[in-house]
Symmetry: C2
């Protein structure tokens, strides 16, 4: 099984659904801004997990498409606005929405994508909704979104602090990254009419997948070759002052001298590439990279355990493979 | 009947509901940013119209509270983000959210208010939903929000043009201001189980009310005494380059010489207060202020006609009085 090929095939279902739904209309520039990030690629992992989770409990995978697309809209809305917050200039090899269309259009494009989330849900056909009420789905997605904003607010606040603890970091990532995956796993199993235990476990699997995905993303930002990173610079998270698991771990395990160095470089837009490389060396010295990698392995173990409640099937195997992929993937 | 007193009394219902729903939680600064504008006062006209519209067709007014609050959340989300787009520093006598809390928190506070809209709707109790399906309500609000963003995008684009036509202007205002009022009128009548004709007419009443409200707002910006405007300056819309009905009308009825003057002053942040006053004089010369005022009277006539489908009642009288208020109110 070539997982990456299978993922690319499955992603196409959602690429074309999104392309169809986001038809350009007037005002033209607004719809261009709206389409920019959602149609720029993306792995579509949330809808894929929703679909697999439904199928793995014996449901019809296609019935999850509206929820899957809704999750993509919500996710993409957060990307558009998060790029403004982080002042990022590039995403998926393209200019970010605010760089390309200006701040005003980027704000309302993100807003409109939030609206599309709920409009899409309003088109869910009744048959899929038997076991779960529509209101519960609406509330779950609104709850997940709210947790994202709380996590984003924590992330913004962390940027002013050098004493963020590992538990605080984990709460932030759980809110900011893991919630939509949690809902992907849960929603798929609910729509597929899984047992209570299956629904719980698939929600937990989704959450763990989200945590792994974020920690791996942070590792890739410092361990990937420049050639593969494209326009992004190695260690750009350090420049941006992002509190990653490595930063948080290193800060509480570093010598006083190196701590001063970290404080002077992390989040310093004027830092040179050699400064960044020094910080990455400090991560190695403090064992922070190992710490993150061990963390990933432990999360993967737990994620795979969640799948014990599923019968053997191709979709279960894919979910197993996805757990591996989330920590072995390259950029 | 002292309408303004009655409105203030009714607004309190929604003030306290919003205060209760937006309880401060962690992260504290995020919830402070979220509460800032929604709890800063506001006339609560959308929920009041929803409630009156329900009562006027024979329904139980309290059953509209969740929809009314949802409309307030949506409206407030647009205010928070619109203030960023317009670079406004003041609202309701307070700093705008981005001025007080910074751009990042203002963006996510607005996003979270959009989410609160739908969460609130997910708590609508079944009895109120008999005649209208919950999905239709969700879709209607998502549609209204989308039209708002389209209108906002038009407004952003208008700021670069001196050839906006009156019909273009009316489409923009209909999308940006009238849609949520349209839904307020419609939703109230639907929840109150009005006849098809009553629902149609109340939707139309809401739309006309929204148009009047916006045009009157634009007039007040140039015709109110400085003392009453507080921190806002007379004619600040001119400084901000806003295309109001007066600007659009004047531009197509002005001498070439004065047109040049208009183009050099409108949207010019460096314009002096005397320049602004000159533009207001041009509005008078071109009959643009009269034009807007006559427009208001015609809209009011149509709005009152919509109410013909209602039995006589106190709420009908209040809706009549509201139509007058929308064009006679002071700041």
């Amino acid at each position: 099984m070539d997982l990456e090929n299978i993922l690319r095939e499955k992603a196409k279902i959602f690429d074309s659904a999104l392309n169809g739904n986001l038809t350009p209309r007037d005002p033209k520039i607004f719809y261009e801004a709206l389409r920019w990030i959602p149609l720029s690629g993306g792995k579509r992992l949330r809808p894929i997990i929703t679909m697999l989770s439904c199928e793995a409990v014996g449901g019809v995978p296609e019935t999850t498409i509206p929820l899957g697309i809704a999750l993509e809209y919500m996710h993409n809305s957060t990307l558009v606005h998060d790029d403004i917050v982080d002042r990022d200039k590039w995403r998926r090899g393209l200019q970010t929405t605010h760089e390309k269309f200006g701040l005003s259009l980027a704000i309302i494009a993100g807003d409109a994508l939030i609206g599309e989330t709920y409009r899409m849900l309003s088109y869910m056909a009744p048959p899929e909704m038997e076991s779960v009420t529509f209101k519960e789905i609406i509330r779950s997605i609104a709850d997940a979104a709210k947790k994202f904003y709380e996590g984003e607010a924590m992330d913004i606040e962390f940027a002013h602090r050098f004493d963020v603890s590992i538990p605080e970091y984990m709460v932030m990532v759980e809110k900011k990254t893991a919630q939509l995956y949690w809902l992907a796993g849960k929603g798929g199993a609910l729509i597929g009419k899984g047992t209570k235990k299956q629904v719980e476990n698939m929600a937990e699997y989704g959450k763990l997948f989200g945590l792994m995905f974020q920690i791996k993303d942070d590792l890739l930002n410092i361990l990937t070759d420049q050639a593969e990173l494209g326009k992004q610079k190695i260690g750009s998270d350090i420049l941006n002052g992002k509190r990653t698991l490595m930063v948080v771990h290193a800060l509480s395990n570093v010598s006083d001298e190196n701590k001063k160095k970290m404080i002077s470089i992390i989040g310093n837009e004027k830092a040179a590439q050699s400064d960044i490389m020094e910080i990455i060396d400090i991560f190695r010295e403090t064992g922070s990279i190992n710490y993150a990698q061990n963390n990933l392995k432990e999360l993967r173990r737990k994620a795979k355990l969640c799948l014990d409640v599923l019968e053997e099937s191709e979709s279960k195997e894919l979910l197993m493979a996805l757990a591996d992929y989330s920590i072995t993937r390259s950029y």
